[in-house]
């Protein structure tokens, strides 16, 4: 076991060496442009890309023809949301999304609002789940898109995608899902779940950064998009630009590996995650779980530690790479909006740590992290005026604080 330990797999993942190996020929040996129709260099590249499309499609139950290749999920989300908005504007101008979405969904929606679209942002319950009845009642005859993520990146909560898909089908509204955290970790089937558009990215499933995909349904209904990038009409006119062949090959391999290893890997991660959770909560009090206890990604654990601050805690476990919902660690000084939406309260949002276990996480690492976290939390609680007040029996909610 070597330090530092990487436990931030919801942020990005290490490339699987098998993925890297599959990419290498496409830099120096088979380096053609997949759009070059006239020579073997191009044909080789095209074949590799088509093969990757099939691998990507198989992971989510779609035809390879329905896979659009992009630079990543941010682009895929932008293309899905702005693309549908532009194309279906005459039909309606209402979009429904959810308060815990990634900024790559929320920000395009904000931009569309400025351009005259109406956006409904559904709230979530204390576990991060939307209310299906609220969704259904929010849909009007002007609604053209529902965009709800399959799994949340911070708290790991899994939304009821299949049920959302059913509602959207019944109401004739397109359903887009940001499946970045879900693809390769839980079973995804665009047919069974009634999904019309789906975003995923390579670097969350042990593939390279800079490549992603957008699934765009071709049948029942045929979804059309306004392209964001014009210039040659690649990807059925939806996304111009030379295909990043090595990256795409990597994404394909990553999807194929994920599909094959998903059942075993998700069980292993589930167990390791539970071990981490139990190891920590059996030795510390005032530890709370953020997100749903069971409907969550197998490798994700988000805990709040009462009376200690998240950034301070991360400093204490300096040989473990994790992330926090604390304001100090975000670019703004605001605590995590996802935790806020759960009603966690700023105090506990500041005290949260997100652990993201992955393919390369070992039991030895988990045990090390348990000890390290317990030690660091105790060290900070010794220094904490809040813990001191709590131990003295003071109810912190009754205290009049003075700001600074």
């Amino acid at each position: 076991m070597s330090l530092p330990i990487y436990m931030d797999n919801n942020s990005t993942t290490r490339c699987d060496p098998r993925v890297v190996e599959s990419m290498l020929p496409y830099f120096v040996e088979q380096y053609g442009n997949a759009a070059s129709r006239n020579h073997s260099f191009g044909w080789q590249a095209e074949e590799a890309v088509e093969n990757a499309r099939e691998q990507i499609g198989s992971l989510i139950g779609s035809s390879p023809k329905e896979i659009i290749l992009t630079s990543g999920a941010t682009e895929s989300n932008n293309l899905a949301i702005k693309g549908v908005a532009g194309m279906y504007r005459k039909k309606g101008n209402h979009i429904i999304t959810c308060v815990t979405e990634h900024k790559a969904v929320l920000d395009p929606c904000k931009r569309l609002e400025r351009d005259g679209f109406a956006v409904t942002t559904l709230p979530v319950d204390s576990y991060g789940l939307i209310d299906l009845n609220e969704l259904e009642s929010a849909i009007t005859d002007k609604t053209i898109l529902v965009s709800i993520m399959m799994a949340n990146n911070e708290i790991g909560t899994l939304q009821p995608a299949a049920e959302i898909g059913q509602i959207c089908k019944r109401k004739g509204v397109l359903f887009h899902t940001d499946a970045v955290q879900a693809a390769g970790k839980i079973p995804v089937d665009v047919e069974a779940m009634g999904i019309d558009l789906l975003s995923l990215t390579a670097h969350k499933l042990y593939g390279p950064k800079g490549t992603g995909a957008l699934y765009v349904r071709r049948k029942d209904p045929r979804v059309r998009l306004d392209a964001m990038l014009d210039g040659g009409g690649h990807e059925r006119g939806m996304r111009s630009g030379t295909i990043a062949v090595p990256g795409v090959v990597g994404l394909g391999t990553a999807c194929a590996i994920a599909r094959k290893e998903l059942p075993v890997e998700s069980n292993r991660l589930h167990e390791l995650r539970n071990r981490l959770h139990e190891g920590i909560s059996s030795r510390l009090d005032h530890v709370s779980l953020n997100g749903h206890p069971t409907r969550r990604l197998p490798g994700n654990l988000n805990l709040s530690f009462g009376f200690v601050e998240g950034e301070g805690l991360m400093m204490g476990i300096k040989d473990v790479a994790v992330s926090s919902g604390s304001a100090c660690t975000s670019a703004s000084l605001e605590p995590s909006y996802v935790l806020k939406a759960l009603g966690v309260g700023d105090e506990l949002a500041h005290s949260s740590i997100r652990f993201g276990l992955g393919r390369f996480t070992t039991q030895e690492e988990v045990d090390y992290v348990i000890n390290d976290v317990v030690r660091a939390v105790n060290h900070l609680r010794d220094m904490s005026p809040l813990y001191e007040m709590h131990r003295a029996g003071i109810d912190l909610s009754t205290v009049q604080w003075t700001g600074h």
């Binding site: 009376f307 400093m315 500041h350 001191e388 003075t402």
Partner: protein
């Protein structure tokens, strides 16, 4: 965001963590900040009634590395000063000493 070695030192080996008896007439206590903001500092000084100098200082802090290091350093600087001298310590001086991020 990499902290200076001084900040790390104060974090790992904080000076003067603890509490005085609030009821002691020679003890002054200040609590500032709020949990919602992610920062709460409690600073206490024990003033020598004869000399009027700050004999001892203790702190407890809920907050990030910067917050912890600043309060720890503050307790070091406060010791041996008069109240007037203590009031003249500027937060910019602490920032400089610890090379704190903006």
């Amino acid at each position: 965001m990499a902290y200076s070695s001084k900040v790390l030192d104060h974090y790992n080996n904080p000076r003067n963590v603890g509490s005085f008896d609030r009821e002691d007439p020679n003890v002054g206590t200040g609590v500032v900040g709020a949990p919602e903001c992610g920062d709460v500092m409690k600073l206490q000084i024990k003033v020598n009634s004869t000399s009027g100098l700050i004999e001892e200082a203790k702190f407890k802090t809920f907050g990030c590395g910067s917050a912890i290091a600043s309060s720890s350093l503050a307790t070091e600087w406060l010791k041996g000063k008069s109240l007037d001298e203590a009031l003249s310590i500027k937060n910019t001086e602490i920032v400089e000493e610890l090379a704190l991020p903006p």
